[in-house]
């Protein structure tokens, strides 16, 4: 079979899934999610073909001589198709159980299929118009998915999302129009061919607009505000897709325009992307730490991981402009590898959060606790996701962060002093991010799954259904496989990276990476085997040295005060208090303590404590901007007085002006 037939079978399955979802029946409807799962398998096959094969035209449908629909795929598209398909497969399995008791089941199924199809369309678009239409479809469909619950919170989040995403689209349109104006071609291939001749200022302008536009979708700081609101508002299978792959279409756009179409740029492009990445990663994880809402926490981690991806991509652009092509390849592999990894582990974590919320009916971690015993599988998979996102060996996050570290260290061999200073600092930012992420997931996992149940709901929690566990299991296994077999991923990536940078990057085998420039190697499988063997050896050793010893259960140490209860445990707010204090310049925390007394100051009736951090960008960037816009809108309103005579006057004036200047 060829990629075209895989793609058409896949697309057919999606359409079938969408149409059948609208048929009004309820019983067994959620089994329809087997269709997108099947489609995902087909698309994954097609993605593999594209990743290794020649660029191919998939579907071309001209409307006029200039515009028309054009879908084509190259190795880069193939890689993103694989990432989308992998997550779609697992989320579809998960959705069978997850949506079975949902209110708007039919609509959900319809939008779900359409959403994935539109994402595939985005990464295979061959010209400007196709891209924009697919992009807009994706945005609108995801808006409807965010607001599918039709409550106040999701409506508000949806509005913010719609506004932000359209601001982003506006920037993308401007950058595309500039490309069209200067190249005279609407096809990406045609633009690429003539891009070398563009004036540098125009190229830089296109670059800036594209980074802002796509950065809004990807959720880089300070354009991230919609992300921590929209992702939690959506149902969890959708949050998983949005965070796992939809925001990656922003990364795809940046790579497609800034790396592929525009070609080699000046050094500051790469440095700009790198700095944006560093800021996003640190601030993203810092804000994540302060969240007690498990889905908002995960959403902020998406901001962080997009930052890590951009560290790799920025470093790659920087090296490329300095002529260090092999290093550019290492850095680009790092960024794209992390893109795939983030899709897998963040998808897994959102699905885990969905299961937890399904079982406990709360998003607040301080109302969970002790779920490890009630939900052993969900707990295990959430732990795998947490370990992966914290980049702990031998799971997948570690490999891509290791590659990012290597590429940032390599920045030193660049000729320019700026990149010599910027790249190790990027490395330090990555180290800080890693440590913060570890703290954040100790909190997220420890507070929600360990200890005692913190609420009645958490006590009564039940493990999720089989299909939900299966969906998570697929991703958890992938977290390990992508971690211990990095050679497989780099071989999928290397055609794309070779076509973009002209170099192959690290030497790799199945489970072995070697960077020639730093003489550094990594073999995650060896680490895994060593750890397994050492654990077994330790187990054997303690039995030999200590003999069989009794294991008895007792109460936790309570300082002699009887009856420890769940309220005495460390809470999420307590856990992060030291971090809140150390980074208070960033958080600007506010606290309010209200004490009412029976007899001051000894007998207290009640104490009310509330604390929050200042949402910096919302308060100092978005609120003033909204105020200004509203003020201008108020002024403009004067024109619209409601008087018919005045409107007739406007028409008259326009007519006169046209007659004077139009001739």
């Amino acid at each position: 079979m060829d990629p075209e037939s895989f793609l058409s079978i896949g697309a057919f399955c999606f359409v079938l899934g969408a149409v059948f979802s609208l048929v009004p029946f309820r019983k067994g409807k959620s089994l329809l999610y087997l269709l997108p799962a099947l489609a995902a398998l087909n698309f994954a096959a097609a993605g593999l073909y594209l990743a290794f094969g020649e660029p191919a035209n998939i579907l071309s449908f001209p409307i006029s001589s200039v515009f028309g629909f054009l879908f084509c795929g190259d190795a880069l598209s193939g890689f993103f198709i694989i990432a989308i398909s992998v997550l779609t497969f697992s989320v579809s399995l998960y959705s069978i159980g997850y949506t079975s008791s949902m209110k708007h089941q039919g609509l959900m199924g319809f939008l779900f299929n359409l959403f994935i199809l539109s994402m595939i369309a985005v990464v295979t678009s061959g010209n400007i118009v196709t891209f924009l239409i697919s992009w807009e479809t994706m945005s609108v469909v995801s808006y409807f998915l965010v607001t599918i619950d039709r409550d106040k919170e999701s409506a508000k989040a949806g509005l913010l999302y719609a506004v932000m995403t359209h601001i982003g689209t506006a920037f993308i349109i401007v950058s595309f129009l500039l490309l069209y104006a200067y190249s005279g071609s609407a096809d990406f291939a045609g633009i690429r061919a003539s891009a070398a001749g563009f004036p540098l200022e125009i190229k830089s302008l296109v670059f800036l607009f594209a980074v802002i536009g796509f950065g809004t979708k990807a959720g880089v700081i300070p354009l991230h505000t919609w992300l921590p609101k929209a992702h939690p508002a959506a149902p969890s299978n959708i949050s998983s897709l949005m965070s796992g792959v939809m925001i990656k279409t922003g990364i795809y756009g940046i790579v497609r325009i800034a790396v592929d179409v525009l070609g080699k740029g000046p050094e500051w492009w790469g440095i700009a992307v790198l700095v944006v990445g560093a800021v996003s990663s640190i601030l993203g994880v810092l804000y994540a730490l302060m969240e007690h809402d498990i889905k908002r926490l995960l959403a902020y981690h998406s901001v962080e991981n997009i930052g890590i991806i951009l560290l790799g991509i920025g470093a790659s652009m920087m090296f490329r402009s300095g002529g260090l092509y092999n290093l550019a390849a290492v850095a680009l592999i790092a960024g794209l590898y992390h893109t795939l990894n983030h899709a897998v582990f963040k998808g897994l974590l959102f699905l885990g959060a969905g299961s937890v919320m399904h079982a406990t009916h709360t998003k607040n971690m301080d109302d969970m606790g002790g779920l490890m015993k009630a939900m052993p599988y969900t707990g295990l998979f959430f732990l795998v996701g947490s370990v992966s996102i914290c980049a702990l060996p031998p799971f997948n996050g570690f490999v891509s962060e290791w590659l990012t570290f290597q590429s940032l260290l390599l920045g030193f061999s660049s000729a320019s002093v700026t990149s010599k200073i910027v790249s190790p600092l990027g490395g330090a930012a990555l180290a800080l991010t890693g440590a913060l992420a570890a703290a954040c997931f100790v909190k997220a996992f420890g507070i929600s799954f360990l200890g005692m149940a913190r609420s009645g709901h958490a006590e009564k929690a039940k493990e999720s259904s089989g299909s939900m566990i299966a969906g998570m299991a697929v991703l958890a296994v992938l977290c390990l496989v992508l971690g211990v077999l990095p050679g497989v991923v780099t071989s999928i990536l290397s055609p794309a990276v070779y076509s973009l940078t002209g170099a192959v990057g690290p030497t790799s085998a199945m489970s072995f990476l070697h960077i020639d420039e730093t003489a550094a190697s990594l073999s995650p499988a060896m680490i895994l085997i060593t750890m397994a063997v050492m654990s077994a050896a330790t187990l054997a050793f303690v039995f030999v040295a200590g003999g069989r010893r009794k294991l008895s259960y007792g109460d936790s140490w309570d300082c002699g005060i009887p009856a420890l209860n769940a309220r005495m445990q460390y809470s999420a707010a307590a856990f992060t208090k030291p971090i809140r204090m150390i980074f208070k310049r960033i958080y600007l925390p506010r606290r309010e303590l209200r004490v009412s007394y029976i007899l001051k100051p000894f007998f207290v009736r009640s104490i009310k404590y509330s604390g929050e951090i200042t949402p910096f960008f919302e308060k100092f960037l978005y609120e003033p901007a909204t105020d200004v816009i509203q003020k201008i809108a108020g002024k403009v309103r004067l024109l619209q007085s409601g008087s018919l005579h005045l409107y007739l006057g406007y028409i008259l004036i326009t007519l006169v002006l046209l007659l004077i200047f139009g001739s």
Partner: protein
């Protein structure tokens, strides 16, 4: 032979701990326990029954093994008496730091698992300290890695020149602070206390008993010796064998033990001469060390060696 050098760490790490304790006691005018005391403690703990909190999950019981195994894995990567070891292909210095991070991650989870305030307090503080230490440690290693042109620990050890330049000294001072913080010593943490309000590392271990506690303590000793070894490899690689001849390896082993003894003296001296800092004063110490590490990098860029 060279593949088994990590066993040195497993066997000798309690001795280093005992040595530091003894030296500290002597400096403070006490007799102190014998240098072999940690071995007796470990044997005693291994032979005891265990009491585990009813609240805990399997994480609590798996953690000692994970921590021990990840520390041993790190020990395999680091060259100890000879740089001729193929375990360098398993990972580099970044992998070592992340293996430590993996151990710490599970230790912090175990601290939260029993549902007590002490465990949570220990976890919270440990993770906070690690946030401040990890980037600083990474940056100080970066300077060495860049000047050696590699992150492979053996390559770093082989290529370090013996003449100390300003970047090295700055990086070393930052690294020493990192070692103090990572091993839970004064002025960051007090290893000899079980006082609720000040403990960091001990807080997480509070619920452990028997062989679990033995493994956790032992892993902690190993981590301490590994960090000393890493410092020796990166900053004083003089004398480390790279050829593999038995006589040279024996000499290298002797030199290595001397280096470890000097490090132990330095730690005992720091611990006796300093007072423990209040927890919220730590950012100024560790932030200062971060600045040192950054300066080391800047001077390296300017001086170029």
């Amino acid at each position: 032979m060279e593949y088994l050098q990590f066993i040195i760490i497993i066997i000798f790490s309690p001795l280093i701990q005992g040595l530091i304790k003894k030296l500290k006691a002597n400096m403070q005018g006490r007799v102190g326990p014998g240098v072999l005391q940690p071995y007796y403690d470990l044997i005693r703990l291994l032979r005891k029954d265990m009491v585990v909190s009813r609240v805990t999950s399997w994480i609590f019981k798996a953690t000692p093994y994970i921590v021990f195994a990840s520390t041993v894995s790190a020990a395999m990567i680091i060259p100890i008496i000879t740089t001729r070891s193929s375990f360098g292909m398993m990972g580099d210095v970044i992998a070592v730091i992340y293996l430590f991070a993996a151990g710490r991650f599970f230790m912090a989870l175990a601290g939260l698992d029993a549902g007590t305030a002490f465990g949570g307090e220990g976890s919270s503080r440990e993770m906070t300290v690690s946030i401040l230490v990890e980037p600083m440690m990474m940056l100080s290693i970066f300077t060495a890695a860049i000047s050696a042109g590699s992150t492979n620990v053996a390559r770093i050890a082989e290529t370090q020149n013996l003449f100390y330049s300003p970047p090295h000294i700055l990086a070393l001072s930052a690294f020493v602070v990192a070692v103090v913080a990572e091993t839970g010593r004064i002025p960051v943490d007090n290893p000899d206390t079980h006082l609720e309000l000040t403990m960091i590392h001990e807080g997480m271990l509070l619920e452990y008993s028997g062989r679990y506690l033995a493994l956790m303590e032992w892993a902690h000793y190993m981590k301490q010796m590994l960090l000393f070894t890493l410092a020796a490899d990166i900053f004083f690689p003089i004398g480390i064998d790279s050829g593999g001849a038995p006589a040279l390896i024996a000499a290298s082993f002797g030199i290595y033990l001397c280096k470890m003894f000097l490090m132990a003296c330095a730690m005992a001296l720091i611990e006796s001469a300093r007072v423990k800092l209040r927890f919220f004063q730590l950012p100024s110490l560790l932030g200062g060390a971060f600045v040192l590490a950054f300066l080391s990098l800047l001077t390296y860029i300017m001086i170029g060696k």
